[in-house]
């Protein structure tokens, strides 16, 4: 039977280390980076766009089954960066919770309420030894009735914040630096600008030009608040627009 009171167990389950840190939570963040992909989310004046790499490791794989972008309800999307199996569990539970919310209260679950629920669940895994934290950073997007376009990011530690723009995954810090410069003066981006900022940020940070099949893009717009994954053609249009612009 394992005993956990320091003595080396602070690295195995979520108890405090002598410096007051939770190693298991920190390792969960590392697991997110180990997935090897980077994701970016940008919030515009009346839309939100999320972009992630689509790496299909084997040509024999059915590409359509490789995705990190999940609709939770018709109006809420979730981009999960990190361990795919943990992501699917999270998405399944989030879909259940959002559907129950709609049934119980009679209106659609707002973005921040779903994000808080995800974050509170993640906090439980950081405090109870029987479950490890999930190796997933979740970006939740949607159009809120009162506040307009919203982008939230939830991490394995149980933190959740609203963002004007953010990133997760391998090149998270480089992407955030890039986005901080772009969003410094609080620009009010149109829908096209939002999508192109997100895609060009990813291209710049990874230093490669993408083909339309190598990225996934998800959007919500005020004029059409349904969460939508862009088709390959639409991604192509945006990529062309970006390369013509430069």
């Amino acid at each position: 039977m394992s005993r956990g009171s320091g003595g080396g167990y602070d690295r195995h389950i979520t108890i405090f280390s002598p410096e007051g840190r939770l190693f298991q939570v920190e390792y969960a963040f590392k697991a997110v980076k180990a997935s090897g992909i980077t994701s970016i989310g940008v919030r515009g004046k009346d839309s939100v766009c999320v972009v992630t790499q689509k790496k299909v490791p084997d040509k024999l794989l059915d590409q359509r089954s490789v995705t990190h972008l999940f609709p939770i309800t018709k109006y809420l999307g979730l981009l999960a960066t990190g361990m795919t199996a943990d992501a699917r569990t999270l998405v399944q539970q989030a879909r259940n919770e959002a559907a129950e919310f709609r049934f119980r209260y009679g209106y659609e679950m707002p973005v921040d309420v779903l994000s808080k629920w995800i974050a509170d669940k993640s906090q439980i895994y950081t405090q109870h030894a029987y479950m490890r934290p999930l190796g997933v950073v979740a970006m939740v997007l949607g159009i809120d009735d009162e506040y307009g376009p919203r982008l939230y990011k939830c991490d394995p530690a149980g933190h959740y914040f609203g963002h004007k723009a953010t990133s997760a995954g391998l090149k998270e810090q480089e992407a955030i630096n890039f986005l901080e410069k772009k969003m410094k003066n609080d620009p009010l981006l149109t829908y096209e600008e939002t999508v192109q900022t997100a895609i060009s940020a990813l291209q710049s940070v990874l230093q490669e030009d993408f083909k339309a099949t190598e990225i996934e893009v998800g959007v919500v717009r005020k004029e059409n608040p349904i969460f939508r994954v862009l088709t390959t053609e639409e991604i192509d249009e945006n990529l062309t627009a970006i390369s013509e612009r430069d």
Binding site: G4, T14, G20, A119, Q127, A129, Y130, G162, H163, K164
Partner: protein, 235 residues
């Protein structure tokens, strides 16, 4: 609480009689952002730094100070996610009290019940202590009150207290400046000056939060405009 495989406490005594997990939890609190509270003659003020990880974070989506009941507010130093759990449990306990007695819960009772929850997590199976210390500010029939609750579950009533990164400087500063007959406005100024002491960078209404409760017994978080006014007065 917890799975049967973990029905033993993770917080156990060391040979010297210490509960090291609680000490580590206090270390986690000590590396959190500074927060403080001051009890005035006619009210209480609590304040905290609000440093966000990036300018990309929408600061209007973040509120560190929370209302537990209309006349009790709380702020923390330490781990934000743990704080959310305690806020939720405390609100529920306050509501259950009200349902039973048809009266608002007295500050001491709410503090005692919240502290009991924190103590449970130092003794129950399969869980770790909370990595937060709380400052609870309330105003009820017994007047203005300020309580600090630690990860161990112990709580004390304070005239003025601070926690987090800059705790020793802040407490020294408060000891010098505190007077028993302070008014709420003076207390707010003192709180701002205390925060300023250890503040890295430029203090502004966007990177601090202040909550007050006065004789009207209504806890509220000040708006950025009001904080700006106080900051101007302090300059």
């Amino acid at each position: 609480m917890g799975d049967s495989q973990y029905s033993f406490s993770l917080t156990t005594f060391s040979p010297s009689g210490k509960l090291v997990q609680i000490e580590h939890a206090l270390t986690a609190v000590g590396s959190g952002q500074t927060s403080l509270g001051i009890k005035a003659a006619n009210g209480v003020v609590i304040a905290t730094e609000k440093k966000l990880p990036s300018i990309l974070v929408d600061e209007s989506s973040v509120q560190k100070m929370q209302t537990l009941t209309p006349n009790i507010g709380v702020v923390y130093s330490g781990m934000g996610p743990d704080f959310r759990v305690l806020v939720r449990k405390s609100r529920k306990q306050a509501e259950q009290y009200h349902r039973l007695y048809k009266e608002p819960i007295p500050v001491t009772q709410l503090v005692r019940e919240t502290a009991a929850v924190m103590q449970e997590f130092t003794q129950s199976g399969g869980v770790r202590p909370f990595g937060v210390s709380l400052l609870v500010a309330g105003f009820d029939d017994k007047g203005p009150q300020l309580y600090q609750v630690d990860p161990s579950g112990s709580y004390f009533s304070w005239k003025a207290s601070a926690m987090g990164k800059n705790v020793s400087n802040a407490k020294t500063f408060l000891e010098k400046r505190y007077t028993d007959d302070m008014e709420l406005d003076d207390a707010v100024h003192t709180a701002i000056l205390t925060l300023k002491e250890g503040f890295e960078g430029q203090i502004s209404s966007k990177n601090i939060e202040i909550g007050i409760i006065g004789a009207d017994k209504k806890f509220r978080v000040l708006s950025p405009a009001e904080i700006d006014d106080y900051l101007a007065e302090v300059e």
